[in-house]
Symmetry: C2
Subunit: 430 residues, 2 copies
């Protein structure tokens, strides 16, 4: 899918334009980190703040130090690998993403952005090229939000969206506290999260959708992120014996929830094609073959690039849920847990990514991100853009998640060039 590239003539020595990514080293780093939390089906289970997370962080720190970088981490465990520049009083040009995964995650979601950034540091180190700004590679804590919700938690604190204390006190479904786990893996730093000025932020990521593959494009120039909202829903009915409770006398929390799960799908489809609606997590109590369920808990996720449509979808499902609850003889509790408005990235950074892709000779198209990313929060505090590469069948949050080695290299080359353009242009401005 990657077109042949000749960058020999492009750029100039002073802009580091002749630097290029070592695709083999990039791929072998991806495969090496995939060992931490590797699953039988070839995926990764590396939930945030677990021992597997600690292991990959340790590997990341060692490897970056071997490339002449200094490692620091802040009070949320966000991890910074800093390569000095000519003027170290300038805030750094940054790259980053996350090394945590879903319970049945793949080898590339988030990881490509960190390891791709590492390949940029490798290229700079190998060439001995010194940028004007310091360059920093960042691993954000708990992007996935699978163990502790909401997602993008610690880039959120960094950007001032969440408070540090709120996040430290979050608990997973087992009741374990975020702050305790962060201490336990040894990555709670002394630098207060957010007091770390940056000049610009670039994030390389797999698309996690089907568009680039379907259109045979190598690079997605990401213009922004769609709006999304999350909710926790608790439905309360009444436990009763499954054998002797007549159907009309039941208050079946799971049956009512089933109707609500269908309503979410119906509403998303009614706002086609850009809307999605998902119930991804459900817990049923007492959860016994022989008992009419008395209480059910589930999550709702709705998204659209237009915040107004997201708001309309919320209004619609609240109305549908209330009607279902009444008809089913159950009570309903809906708690909004996350509201991320649509994000529009920096035109300047988008232009740098566009030029980088063009100069490198890769096929590219503009795209709006379906998933949320740390970049969505960074965009509120610094010029930000993202680079997408295709993933097989648009499949992600899945152990079968797959990308090609040439596409990984292409994405990292665009990241490298965009970082060097930012180093040149922002320092001129500075």
């Amino acid at each position: 899918m990657t077109k042949q590239t000749d960058i020999s003539g492009s750029g100039s020595k002073s802009s580091g334009g002749n630097l290029r990514i070592d695709g083999q080293a990039l791929w072998s780093d991806l495969m090496e980190t995939a060992r931490f939390g590797a699953t039988a089906k070839g995926g990764i289970k590396r939930l945030t703040l677990t021992d597997e997370d600690r292991q990959v962080r340790d590997w990341f720190a060692r490897t970056c130090e071997s490339l002449g970088c200094t490692i620091t981490f802040d009070s949320m465990g966000n991890l910074f690998a800093r390569r000095p520049g000519q003027d170290n009083t300038l805030p750094p040009i940054t790259m980053g993403s996350h090394l945590d995964t879903q319970p049945t995650g793949g080898k590339f979601d988030g990881i490509l952005g960190v390891i791709g950034g590492l390949s940029v540091l490798r290229a700079l180190h190998a060439s001995g090229y010194t940028t004007r700004h310091p360059i920093e590679l960042i691993n954000w804590t708990n992007e996935e939000g699978a163990r502790f919700t909401p997602p993008m938690m610690c880039s959120g604190v960094f950007a001032g969206v969440f408070t540090e204390q709120d996040v430290l006190d979050k608990r997973d479904r087992a009741g374990i506290r975020f702050g305790d786990e962060l201490e336990a893996i040894g990555y709670r730093g002394s630098e207060p999260c957010g007091q770390h000025p940056i000049t610009a932020y670039f994030e390389l990521h797999i698309e996690q959708g089907p568009i680039l593959e379907v259109e045979d494009k190598t690079i997605g120039i990401v213009a922004g992120v769609q709006g999304m909202r999350w909710y926790e829903v608790t439905v309360r009915g009444k436990d009763a014996h499954a054998g002797s409770t007549p159907m009309p006398m039941r208050h079946d929390a799971l049956l009512a929830s089933a109707r609500m799960i269908e309503a979410i799908s119906d509403i998303a489809i009614a706002h086609a094609p850009a809307s999605v609606g998902t119930v991804g997590l459900i817990e049923n109590r007492p959860n016994s073959n022989n008992v009419v369920p008395g209480e059910t808990f589930f999550t709702v996720d709705i998204r659209n690039p237009d915040d107004a449509i997201v708001a309309t979808m919320e209004g619609e499902f609240r109305k549908r849920f209330a009607a279902i609850a009444e008809a089913s003889g159950v009570t309903l509790d809906i708690v909004p847990i996350w509201d991320a408005p649509a994000v529009h990235f920096s035109p300047a950074c988008i232009d740098m990514v566009t030029e980088a892709a063009t100069e490198a000779g890769y096929s590219a198209r503009r795209i709006v991100s379906g998933p949320g990313h740390d970049a969505a929060y960074l965009a509120s505090i610094a010029p930000t853009a993202m680079i997408f590469v295709p993933c097989k069948d648009g499949l992600s949050h899945n152990e079968e998640e797959s990308i090609t080695e040439p596409d990984a290299e292409a994405g990292a080359n665009v990241l490298l060039r965009a970082v060097l353009k930012a180093d040149a242009s922002f320092s001129t401005a500075a």
Copy 2:
């Protein structure tokens, strides 16, 4: 709800007809056993073969020994308290039920039958009356089937419905083996399960339904048990990112399961009023807010007094499930795990219960049991009948399960009289 009773004239010394239950002792035994696995909401969580199960078994054994009984248990952990009779070569007249509960169970389901039988032993012990047959009180292992399915597991082995080895190898949802847990609590006996001849079996139980209460009857004379079938269903779709996977490209296992859960309810209602259909247990994978569910597991429970209607309901839901799976782009695996045909109790034993209720002066009516009971299996190897008493709002498998002290005493008085009638009539026959 209990009518005043005068049994002074009824029966004869030789038949022990002037014996009566000590209602206060019965109630205090019920409350004492309720401490083993007591929940904050006033219910009991005493899953089979747990430490709480061991504790209540130990209490049962000690208490029965203090009433002059001998304790034995068989290779399935079924527990027998034997009171000698005049002719100990005769197989015993037996009473029993179970002391295990649901995860959020009440204080009476099963327990009343065991403790009510204990109150019969108390009455015999207090009077010094010696029956012709030995009298045995039985606590059956794992009636609930909440931890290890199917229910009525060890009365099933006793009756030859299941093999001992199949049951020993059953595993709970955590993968723990039945046989290992039975050994661990110290109740795996040397007597091979099933090699324990009995003359007759009577089981006292709460109705677990609303009928007796609605009709203001104290005693249910149970003519039999409705037919029921259980299934385990696995729906397989494809994990995918909740933000970037367009609705038409999804293979959402939970959404398909939601449609199937509604289908089960629709089918039961279509066969009103005697049919019930329940999905009581569901597990969703990977069960993360942010992931379209790739696999869902749930159970199906369908019942009707007429086996032909149960078969029709199975045919209907298999057809509906197949259509839903195809329309939802998922695959379907349906495993039948339990098939209990309708049971008809012994006319002789039903008559004894009827006469006992009449002589004791309690209001009574014939009834068919909705739930399954150990008696349903015992009926295949010995003359068997059951006695029901009302429970508040028909509520069971619920921590709020509730009965009155007079109703408990009434049920035990009928059990006592029925046992004495069986002792007289069956020994004449013997």
